[in-house]
Amino acid sequence: MIKKIITLFLVLTIVLLIITGLNLEYEDKEESPWDQFVKENYEETGAVNLIEAVLLDFRGYDTFGEVMILYIAISGVIIIGKEMKKGDSK
């Protein structure tokens, strides 16, 4: 019974949040970060492709994290693979 009440409460909250979100009126007065990127892109990075500029310059941390995740994953694969190779030759 308690579970059902909690579920109902959560569903109602989510529905309310969605309705509120749909009814929000956006004011376009302030510059969003995106407008800033579009304006400053060419002068700052010299890259015509905006996606590339965002990936490697404005959001370099993100790409750095991706590269490091890939590095750690491949390191694990290589370590295990070399151990298996040793076992094969014995």
Binding site: E43, T45, N49, E52, D57, F64, A73, S75, G81, M84
Partner: protein
């Protein structure tokens, strides 16, 4: 692989795959593409040769593949740390106004993804399957 058709076709196709990969990796700042996609295209060319012609053709590359991987990670980290040494925040663009930064990091990332994909293939899948080819 014994099939003559597959061997001939792959031999004709692999250089173009490598060329397309290089093109995509170095022209990421102008056109859709970039380091990750270019690296995967480069790797697909090598994997095609590896699958059809056996391991002997790429054995040299296979031995050095983990060095490529480490090189990519260290250079990316070094590029970030150089900015700190010069008194700017981590991973700041060192050549503002020119696409040098994007091109250099793109090539580094593509080398790294290329090495990673080939190593993944060789170590996870290649062991037995490639030996039997």
């Amino acid at each position: 692989m014994k099939s003559v058709i597959v061997r001939t076709a792959s031999r004709a196709l692999a250089p173009f795959l490598l060329l397309a990969g290089l093109y995509m990796a170095t022209h990421g700042f102008l056109l859709p593409g970039g380091g990750f996609q270019g690296g995967v295209l480069l790797a697909s060319g090598v994997i095609l040769i590896l699958l059809t012609h056996g391991r002997e053709k790429v054995i040299r590359l296979e031995e050095d593949i983990d060095w490529f991987e480490a090189f990519g990670a260290v250079v990316f980290l070094g590029a970030g740390l150089t900015a700190i040494i010069m008194g700017k925040p981590f991973l700041t663009n060192l050549f503002p106004g020119t696409p040098i930064w994007c091109i250099a990091l793109d090539i580094v990332v593509s080398l790294k993804v290329f090495a990673g994909t080939v190593a993944l293939f060789v170590y996870l899948f290649g062991m037995r399957a490639v030996r039997e080819c």
